[in-house]
Amino acid sequence: MENSKPKVAIVSLTSCEGCQFALLDLGERFLDFVSKIEMVDFRLLEDEEDDGGKIDIGIVEGTPITDANIETLKKLRERSKTLVVLGNCAAMGGIPEIKNYQEGKNTIKHVYKYIQGIDNPEVKEVDNFVKVDFIFRGCPINGEEFLKFMPDILAGKIPELPDQAVCVECKARGNRCLLLDNKPCFGPMIQGGCNAPCPTAGMMCQGCRGLRPTANVKATKKMLKAKMTDEEFENTSEIFGLRDDLEAKEKLEK
C-alpha cells in the first residue's frame, strides 16, 4: 500500500494572521514541515482551490465574526479528523473579545456610520461552534512549540501540555522576577510553553496563553493586589480574553 502523506489545511478566520506568520517566519524549518505533509489549503502560499474532501488535520486561526467565518469553521471541522486551533483569538477570543466587556454590540457606533448589513456578533471562541482537539496557545503562537507537537498530531496523537506556569521558563532564561520588584505579572497562573518572551523583554505576562489547569486565581489575585489596582487587573485581563476564564475559574474555587 502506498504510504501517503497526511493531508493538512491551514485556514484563517477574522484575524491579524500573525499566527500563520509565526509559522512562515520559521523559514526553512517550516518548508521542511510542509514537505512532510500534503498541504491541501494554505492560501498564504497557494492559489489553487482545494477540492473540499476529507483531510487529516485542519488548522484554524482567528475569530469567527462573519457568517462566512462560521461556515468556514464548521466545514473545516466536518472534513478534518483532528481540528487544531492556532492562537489566542481562536482559543480565547483575543483582542476582538474586548468589545464583549465594553459596550458589546454598540461598540460599532464608534467606528461606523452605516451599521446595517455588517456582521457584529458577540465574540465567541472557536470551541463554541465546533469541537476542538488541540490548542496552540498564545498571541501569537510559539513556532517552536508548533514544530515540537506537530509530529505527534500528524501521527494521530493529541499532545498534553505540562501543567507549568510561565514562571518556569522565565526563571530558566535568567530573568529577575518582576514580582520581586513589586511589579505585576500574571505569570504564576498562566500556562507556560511560550518561553516567556514578555517578561524577558521587561513586560508583565498578560496571560495570552490562558490559565494553567492548577492555576490558583484567588491566591494570585490577592498577591497582585499590592502591585496593581482591581481596575488595572480587570483591564489587563480583558486584553487577551482572559477575564471570562478568570471569572469561571474563581467560581469553581469558591
Binding site: 502560499l45 492559489d47 483575543g94 452605516y114
Partner: protein, 419 residues
C-alpha cells in the same frame, strides 16, 4: 457580463473581486472585502493608553511594528513626551526591518509566482531553490533585527511610550552588522533575478502621497507631500484626506480632493527616490525606468529597491547606535496628561496614520486609524477598471490569473484595511 473571483489567495486577509462589463464598457470594478470587523478603534476607547499600542499592533500580523510605533508616537504627541535621539534611531531601525521582511515576503512568496505563471509557491520553491534561500535569508535578516530590539517578531514587546522597556543587547546588534553584508548581497542578487520577470505594460496617472523629509528617505518622520504639489504637516492629514463609508462596507476608503490616490513603495519612489542609499540608487538606475512612473506593477521593483535601501540604512543607524550610549533608549519618567496626538509613519504598504485623544488620567477618549490599504483601495479599483479591457478577450482562466496578479502587485492588507 460579470467577472467574479471568489477569493484571492496569497494576500493578507480575505477578499474577492467583482466587476461588471457591459458591451466592452467596464461599469464597476470592486474588491469585495470578506474580512470581519474587529472594531479596533472602538475597543481602544476607555482603555488605558499603555494598553493601546499592544492592542493596536494586533491589527496586523505582518506589520505589527508600524502599528505599534505609530500608536506610540501619537500618544507621545498627545502627552508631549520627548524621547532621546537614541530611541528615535532604534525605532527607525525597527521600522526599516519591518519594511525589509514584509517586502521580502510579498516580493518572493506572494507576488513572484504570478509573473512566472505558477499557481503554487511549492512549485516556485522547487524550481528556484537558490533564490528561495536568498529570499528567506533576507526576510530573516529583517526579522532578526525586530527580534533583537523588540523581543519577538510577530507582536514585538519592548517598545512603549517614552522609549524601550529594555536596551537591546550590544553583541546581538554587532551580529546584525556582521550579517548585513551578506543580506545586501542576497538582496542585490534577488534584484537581478527580478529584472528577468516580465511585467505587463499598463499605466494610469494618479496622485502619489508619502511622507517626505529633507535629506533622508522619509520613513518614521516628515511632512505629507504629493505628486500634485500637496505639502502639509501630519496634523492636517484628516482635514485633507477623507474617509468614506458606504452602506454594507467595512473598509472606509479614503479620498483626496474627491479622488483616489496611491501610497506605498511606488509613491515613495516617485516622490523621494533622490534620497536613496547608494546601492539602492544604483539598482534603481539599472532598472532604467522613467519617472513619473504610473505602472502599478512596478510596485514590485520598487519594493526591491526599498529592501536594498533599508538594509543599507539599518546598518548605518545600528553603527551609529553602537557608538552611542544604548541605555539612553530606556524609558524615563514622564507625566501623563490630557491631549490629542497624531502621527504618521511609512508602513511597508504606505503611510499609516493614527489620531488618539486621551483624558487627564491617560484613558483613550477617541481613536482613528487610517491604514495604507484603506487609502489605496479606491486607486486599485480605478486602475483595474482601466486594466480590464486589456485582458477582456483572454481565456477566462488566464484573465482571472492576470487580475489576481494585478491585485497582488498592490500588496493589499485586508486585515489592516478593515481592522
Amino acid at each position: 457580463m460579470e467577472i467574479k473571483i471568489n477569493h484571492i489567495a496569497k494576500m493578507e486577509g480575505h477578499a474577492g473581486f467583482m466587476a461588471s462589463v457591459l458591451q466592452g464598457d467596464v461599469k464597476s470594478a470592486k474588491i469585495e472585502v470578506q474580512e470581519g470587523m474587529r472594531l479596533i478603534e472602538g475597543i481602544l476607547i476607555g482603555r488605558h493608553y499603555k494598553d493601546a499600542p499592544i492592542i493596536a499592533q494586533r491589527i496586523c500580523g505582518i506589520c505589527p511594528v508600524v502599528h505599534n510605533l505609530t500608536c506610540i508616537k501619537a500618544l507621545e504627541k498627545a502627552m508631549d513626551v520627548k524621547v532621546t535621539e537614541e530611541t528615535k534611531k532604534l525605532r527607525d531601525v525597527m521600522e526599516l526591518a519591518q519594511i525589509i521582511h514584509s517586502h521580502a515576503l510579498h516580493l518572493f512568496f506572494l507576488s513572484l509566482a504570478d509573473f512566472l505563471d505558477m499557481d503554487n509557491d511549492i512549485k516556485l520553491i522547487n524550481t528556484y531553490p537558490e533564490e528561495t534561500k536568498k529570499a528567506i535569508r533576507v526576510r530573516e535578516f529583517g526579522m532578526s533585527i525586530i527580534k533583537t530590539i523588540g523581543g519577538r517578531v510577530v507582536h514585538p514587546i519592548s517598545n512603549e511610550v517614552g522609549g524601550f522597556k529594555k536596551a537591546p543587547n550590544e553583541d546581538e546588534l554587532r551580529g546584525i552588522i556582521e550579517k548585513s553584508g551578506s543580506a545586501l548581497e542576497d538582496a542585490l542578487a534577488l534584484g537581478e533575478f527580478f529584472k528577468k520577470i516580465k511585467i505587463p505594460d499598463f499605466s494610469r496617472e494618479t496622485e502619489y502621497v508619502a511622507l517626505s523629509k529633507k535629506g533622508t528617505y522619509a520613513i518614521c518622520d516628515g511632512d505629507i507631500i504629493s505628486s500634485k504639489g500637496l505639502n502639509i504637516p501630519v496634523e492636517k492629514f484628516e482635514s485633507n484626506f477623507h474617509e468614506l463609508q458606504k452602506q454594507n462596507e467595512v473598509v472606509k476608503k479614503v479620498e483626496h480632493n474627491g479622488e483616489s490616490y496611491m501610497v506605498g513603495a511606488i509613491a515613495r519612489m516617485n516622490l523621494n527616490r533622490d534620497r536613496l542609499n547608494p546601492e539602492a540608487h544604483k539598482y534603481l538606475e539599472s532598472l532604467d525606468l522613467t519617472f513619473p512612473d504610473y505602472n502599478p506593477f512596478h510596485n514590485i521593483f520598487f519594493q526591491m529597491v526599498e529592501v536594498i535601501h533599508c538594509i543599507e540604512q539599518a546598518k548605518k543607524i545600528i553603527n551609529e547606535l553602537l557608538h552611542a550610549d544604548l541605555n539612553e533608549v530606556v524609558t524615563k519618567e514622564y507625566k501623563v496628561k490630557e491631549g490629542v496626538g497624531v502621527a504618521a509613519v511609512e508602513a511597508p504598504r504606505g503611510t499609516l496614520y493614527y489620531h488618539i485623544d486621551i483624558d487627564a488620567k491617560g484613558y483613550v477618549k477617541n481613536a482613528n486609524i487610517i491604514t495604507p490599504t484603506a487609502q489605496f483601495l479606491a486607486n486599485l479599483e480605478d486602475d483595474i477598471k482601466e486594466y480590464i479591457p486589456e485582458v477582456m478577450n483572454l481565456d477566462e482562466k488566464i484573465r482571472e490569473r492576470k487580475l489576481r496578479a494585478f491585485i497582488r502587485a498592490y500588496d493589499p492588507c485586508i486585515s489592516c484595511a478593515v481592522h
